[in-house]
Homo-oligomer: 141 residues x 4
Amino acid sequence: MQQKMDVAALTAFLRSDFAQVAGMFEVLEAGAETVIRLKVDDSHLRPGGTVSGPTMFALADVGIYLAILARIGPVALAVTTNATIDFLRKPLAGVDLIARVRVLKLGRSLAVGECLIFSEGQGEPVARASMTYAIPPKALS
Amino acid sequence: MQQKMDVAALTAFLRSDFAQVAGMFEVLEAGAETVIRLKVDDSHLRPGGTVSGPTMFALADVGIYLAILARIGPVALAVTTNATIDFLRKPLAGVDLIARVRVLKLGRSLAVGECLIFSEGQGEPVARASMTYAIPPKALS
Amino acid sequence: MQQKMDVAALTAFLRSDFAQVAGMFEVLEAGAETVIRLKVDDSHLRPGGTVSGPTMFALADVGIYLAILARIGPVALAVTTNATIDFLRKPLAGVDLIARVRVLKLGRSLAVGECLIFSEGQGEPVARASMTYAIPPKALS
Amino acid sequence: MQQKMDVAALTAFLRSDFAQVAGMFEVLEAGAETVIRLKVDDSHLRPGGTVSGPTMFALADVGIYLAILARIGPVALAVTTNATIDFLRKPLAGVDLIARVRVLKLGRSLAVGECLIFSEGQGEPVARASMTYAIPPKALS
């Protein structure tokens, strides 16, 4: 499948269109697999020192969204319609999270992607997520 | 089913065990249905002025968690294992969100709840969520 | 919301468009809540005598699909895009299942519904399901 | 991770413990990835000639279940607690389906797996599924 945005283009898009959260994330790879880092800080933690569920949700959402944009170009209008997350293990304390994303479908009106989330350097995932986005009719023309 | 915690007890638990986010939420009812308000402020918004997905995720997670605690008592150890959200409509700008939660199962090791989320005063839900929590063995003894 | 098909119309649609499975189901109510019965027989059972997961999936899928058709009319083209089921309790052996369905969203291109499934006569649900359907562009015009 | 059952052992288990559906499935591989074939026949089809949703659900359920048993041994007691499926594309008519399964978590009380389902010989998946199973306490001792 063709790529319309690379790491630099996705990073620029994140800064311009998601300024509020852009500082949390770093785009590491864009290709067959899109890879995003969540730079963990204290605001993401639950009591006990592990990253909160909503923060992992945000990482999966941004990661899958960017992986889709990498294919269709900078369309700021796709909206999440469905999200499912399985929380598998406690993330390591004080370690960044890495989301490895694949796009499974890029249809005329729906796009679907999935990711595994890892504590950096670990082999077993801490979470799995899949999300569906509705794409506005004009976006693919 | 029996209730072990009322609105005051849930509110106190939220403040002691989730101090970081307690200010975002208000417990309105605890009973057959548990009702939680998300006090929307600028930090919850996406470009365009609507509440972000991760913020709705956080509301559903806290709401279902508190509804389960209302039944089993203040056990700070249950962890979310699975979460599914359907985003149905854009929330109204500048309006609080209300989650109406029901507990569907309270087993020995798993609890399941669901909620509908509304923009306050509206009849059509903006989101639907269901979540599963693993309960540690001792919590129910 | 308006209803375009009643119990008789949904039953006729089931027989004409889903002849292969129509005998399994009975439409009991069509309105704010659509209610469908699964007439349990031996072919639906797992070892141990309880209804299988795929059979409950089929009940939820048919039930939510019919509830959506009740609103938009006999459009045989909507396809399921996402389905989530929580299995909550073992169904009673030898007892029909009842699905109680609500439509949560009826958009231009997506419809979302959810249901609770009960062993007939029981108060606690055996399963919860939510499903999303893509509606072809012409269907709503 | 260790394997306790190979292709022959999984096939024998399927025949003894799931006699009713064993003829539908063929275990092709058991290892880091477990691969299962659904031998499509007329009873699995919807009008239009494509495999029905409940049949794909059954394939995912059996496939992930067997992949978990391959790790923990022939424990006929694990029950599905949560299932999520995304239907991505129409399966090819008259072609078997292949499920490629990975186990993501094998905990003391919960196991989680996911699969992609393909029309045999095609590169793009027709469905994605993830499922959670509750494992009875004795099963892992």
